[in-house]
């Protein structure tokens, strides 16, 4: 198995199980992501991808199994817990307020307050500081975003995706989970997002990429984990397999070859 130079697990899932009533959405999922690694999470509809993402981002709590972050078992019972252990999720709808500008979205509910203790207690915003941080965050991604005070609804889909990624990274996330980041994007914009994913992984961030798009996975990911009927059935280095192999794993026509 190929490993990156930073051979250290950022996040590790051990036999995660989750059921809803009688439905076993996740039966047994185990894999890990090293620092700076991009892992694709593949699987057919209903294979359990969304449930897994929700377990990692704190929307669901697993019934069984451990999640380890940087080698320590963590308990993630809310979105806030996930954030506190360094996991940021970029949801499909991006969770942004269209009327707000980029800076306001980057700092939504994590505003920088004024230094004066009284004003800070009131929640007085330090808009200058937020704008400076926001410029830095955008520069760090070399993204082609016009300006930090542009309103979100004036941006293209790819640019919005970039802002959502910038927000995740800006909060010092060690692990970024992305749910179908290119699903709604054209070819060129998808390429831009891929580029961004490479930039943040080169900065040591572990990325879990949920995608339907095989081409996207092959281009961006180091490894691919395949879910089939709630189980992780394959964990392969992308360089070692063909797209056809991956499809066979997803459809269950073939169990792990590697």
């Amino acid at each position: 198995m190929d490993r990156t130079s930073l051979d250290q697990a950022a996040i590790e899932l051990n036999s995660i199980k989750k059921s809803f009533g009688g439905v076993h959405a996740l039966k047994n999922v185990s894999f890990k992501i090293n620092k700076g690694e991009v892992v694709g999470l593949l699987g057919d509809n209903g294979a359990g991808k969304s449930t897994l993402v929700r377990c990692i981002s704190g929307i669901h709590t697993p019934d069984h199994g451990d999640i380890l972050v940087n080698g320590k078992v963590v308990s993630i019972e809310s979105a806030l817990d996930a954030r506190n252990v360094g996991i940021e999720t970029v949801f499909q709808d991006l969770a942004m307020v269209p009327e707000f500008n980029i800076t306001e979205n980057l700092f939504l509910n994590r505003e920088i307050k004024h230094k004066n203790p009284i004003l800070k207690w009131l929640g007085w915003l330090d808009k200058g500081a937020m704008e400076r941080r926001s410029k830095k965050a955008l520069n760090r991604l070399n993204s082609r975003i016009p300006s930090y005070d542009e309103q979100i609804h004036h941006l293209s889909g790819g640019q919005r995706q970039a802002v959502a990624i910038a927000r995740a990274v800006n909060w010092g996330a060690d692990i970024v989970v992305m749910d179908e980041p290119t699903a709604a994007l054209g070819v060129e914009q998808s390429a831009q997002v891929n580029e961004l994913i490479k930039v943040i992984s080169s900065q040591g961030v572990a990325v879990l990429l949920i995608s339907h798009n095989m081409q996207h996975v092959v281009e961006t990911c180091d490894r691919a984990v395949v879910l089939y009927q709630g189980e992780s059935v394959a964990d392969v280095a992308v360089a070692d397999v063909t797209k056809e192999d991956l499809v066979a794993l997803i459809t269950g026509a073939k169990s792990q070859a590697a």
Binding site: R83, D93, V97, E99, L108
Partner: protein
């Protein structure tokens, strides 16, 4: 770029925004009346001071309603809260001092706002229906409270503080307007709370995903609008030296029209406090101009309705254009 051309660019940007509309219509109406009523007292400082004093309760309610609208709620109960708070304040003044009377009246407002908020969140029903219901209940209580009798206020300190007084020649009602408008502006524009209100109004899903306590924020917004209405009740009581169940009865339409024309979205996510203040003054100016032109109360009511519809039409058109 020099600072001059930068500010000109900013000004240009603003000139085409929805928020700027109120300035144009304000000036337009002002000019029209000034021309048609050139032989009356319309265009005098004292007339405008009068308008501002008269509209002070409306202005305060408009600032409060802006908070409810910012999260996407409407609060129809504000008119009824005005009457109840004024009556409660006036009754309490017969037994206790000003602090207790004022606290009691504002508390009534806060409690009604909280009830509105809790019912909306618990039942997951639109604020329109819940506040329509509380409007009926509160109106009924206000009528019952004194058997339709008015309650006079003889406490001169109270009428000074909440109506007739002036400090260094500045009417106290103008001071109240500036104070409440200023607080509203700061909270909405400068504090994190204001960002959260607008985030909840603009995209509840995003707000929730970012960990904002959406339910709580929505409830606060209704408490604020209701407390502001209670304060408006005290301002009426102070100016009129007494309270009556009819206070605030006809204000709902005026307040909604004022806020809507001022640039606040009726669907949440955009709030404009300065616009709400100017909007309320615009409504006052129109009333005043129509009276001076010899129109009746009925015709003023028609004018208010027309303005609300114009404001809504602009808002909806903008919504469609994205």
């Amino acid at each position: 770029m020099s600072t001059d051309s930068a500010s000109i660019a900013l000004l240009k940007q603003f000139a085409f925004k929805r928020e700027a509309f109120i300035y144009y219509i304000f000036i337009l109406v002002l000019v029209i009346f000034a021309v048609f009523l050139h032989d009356t007292a319309f265009l005098t400082v004292s007339n405008f001071m009068n308008i501002i004093r008269q509209m002070a309760p409306i202005t305060v309610m408009a600032v409060g309603l802006t908070f409810a609208l910012s999260v996407g709620h409407i609060d129809l109960s504000i008119g009824s809260v005005v009457a109840l708070s004024a009556l409660v304040g006036a009754l309490l003044l017969q037994y206790t001092g000003i602090p207790m009377a004022v606290a009691g009246a504002l508390l009534i407002g806060g409690v009604i706002g909280l009830i509105n908020g809790v019912l909306i969140e618990r039942m997951q029903v639109s604020s329109l229906l819940i506040t329509l219901g509380t409007m009926g209940i509160v109106t009924g209580i206000a009528r019952q409270l004194t058997n339709l009798e008015s309650v006079p206020i003889i406490n001169q300190d109270f009428t000074f503080m909440f109506g007739a007084g002036d400090i260094l020649g500045i009417p106290i009602l103008l001071i109240w307007t500036v104070l409440i408008g200023g607080i509203g502006y700061i909270v909405m524009q400068k504090l994190a709370f204001g960002r959260h209100l607008l985030a909840v109004g603009g995209s509840p899903k995003a707000a929730l995903a970012m960990g904002i306590k959406v339910t709580r924020i929505r409830m606060y917004s209704l408490v604020i609008s209701s407390v502001a209405a209670a304060l408006a009740g005290l301002l009426y009581a102070g100016r009129l030296h007494g309270a009556r169940y009819t206070l605030g009865e006809a204000d709902l339409l005026t307040v909604i029209a004022a806020v809507a024309i001022g640039g606040t979205s009726l669907f949440g996510g955009r709030a404009c406090i300065v616009g709400a203040i100017l909007g309320s003054w615009l409504m006052g100016m129109i009333n005043n101009g129509l009276i001076l032109s010899g129109f009746s109360t009925n015709e003023q009511m028609i004018a208010r309705g027309v303005i609300l519809i114009i404001a809504v039409a602009i808002g909806v058109k903008e919504l469609k254009n994205g």
